[in-house]
């Protein structure tokens, strides 16, 4: 029998979250973010969180919600624009921000999930990102040593999921969700549609259920669009 990872709701899914933890949040901009888990963490009230997320949401949505409630001590991201509260907290020194190259961010997530404690990448060589890091040349090109992340929880969002934790993402909403799902010690997946194990085609699954500890169908998905750009017919 397939293993059953289903939990009732977001509140149950985030059980164990405590102040001071390091948590990953999937998504790129507002696309594919774990809205329901974020709302539950807000309600939970855990403080001094270190959040690993490519972006930091916008005012009032996405991780912006946890910034407003002052639950975040540190953000580890590649790009944090478009958020006034973020900017205020960062400039006032309330919020600690570590900016790292986007590919390094993704690979440090995958490495954490894949049991690779460290790897060499060319990204950031010769920049302040490389400060204090080991440099080694391979094939005539400089690289720096980067380490796997260590996160207690990872919150990810998928389109469809089954009770065994298998996930399918829609379009570009896959982004960081896959590698972060691999990386969390406890990975919580929220999905738009939850089906019984056996209903998804095993060839169409993007993230195998072994990486997922808890899965639930979200109550509500706002799926806000950050930059609505259109053309005329």
């Amino acid at each position: 029998m397939a293993l059953n990872k289903q939990v009732a709701n977001a509140e149950e899914a985030i059980k164990g979250i405590e102040s001071g933890m390091t948590i990953m949040f999937g998504g790129f901009g507002l696309c594919g973010i774990p809205e329901n888990s974020i709302a539950a963490v807000r309600k939970n009230g855990a403080k001094n969180l270190t959040c690993i997320s490519n972006n930091a949401g916008v005012d009032g949505f996405g991780l912006g919600v946890l910034l407003e409630s002052r639950q975040v001590k540190k953000m580890i991201s590649s790009y944090v624009g478009e958020n006034e509260e973020f900017e205020r907290q960062m400039l006032s020194g309330e919020l600690n921000v570590e900016l790292i190259p986007q590919g390094t961010l993704a690979e440090r997530c995958r490495a954490a999930g894949a049991g690779i404690p460290a790897f060499f990448t060319p990204a950031g060589y010769g920049t302040e990102v490389a400060e204090g890091k080991e440099v080694r040349w391979f094939d005539g090109k400089p690289h720096i040593l980067e380490h796997a992340f260590d996160a207690s929880f990872a919150f990810v969002k998928a389109w469809k999921g089954d009770t065994a934790g298998n996930l399918i993402f829609k379009a570009t909403a896959r982004n960081f969700n896959h590698a972060m799902a691999m990386a969390g010690k406890i990975t919580v997946a929220e999905v738009e549609v939850l089906v019984p194990a056996g209903e998804l085609d095993p060839m169409e699954i993007h993230t195998p259920g072994i990486f997922i500890q808890r899965i639930y169908q979200g109550d509500h998905f706002e799926k806000r669009i950050e930059q609505r750009t259109v053309r005329t017919k």
Binding site: Y79, Q102, G103, E107, T127, A171, T172, N175, A179, V230
Partner: protein, 218 residues
Amino acid sequence: MALDKNGIAQRIAQELKHGYYVNLGIGIPTLVANYIPNGIDVEFQSENGMLGMGPFPIEGEEDADLINAGKQTITAMPGAVYFDSSTSFAMIRGQHVDLTVLGAMEVSDQGDIANWKIPGYMVKGMGGAMDLVASAKNIIVAMMHTNKKGESKLLRQCTLPLTGTKCVTKVVTNLAVLEITEKGFKLLERAPGVSVEEIQAATEGRLIIEGEIPEMSL
């Protein structure tokens, strides 16, 4: 006459070759997609996780799950494919992308680039730029030749924090097309009606002028 942003994009589009995978940065680079020469097939990579990026959607057909790296709603072309961020940067780091077009605040005559941070200002982050410039085989910078104060952005040494070192291959500005060589910026083409002297005056880094410098044909 100096080029406008669209002119810069149009000139860069001439660098596209049939069969190229191309990553376009935010700003002027995005406009390059509007000027793909006839008979040339290229595919656009968006580092948030797709190949085969198409134009903006028709109004009413926007999909919150389908955006580009600039977080804009987009569409997918036939033959498109979605993937996760670690695979996306595997493509970039692994040099599978043929051409990267980026904006910049400064470029040095050794090919260093600074485009992510101005000390004293709010820093938003490097996004994927450091991965792109560290790995891409062919990096073209699209930018104005001088900043708003009229100071050259083509320098002997960058003054701003670097995004990458010795990586830029070409610079296309409102005034000129320049190639990075061991001896500095080699002037390849002038914008229509722009003189070599004007380009020289606007270039702080070493400028190499050899023979007659042709005008761009747009």
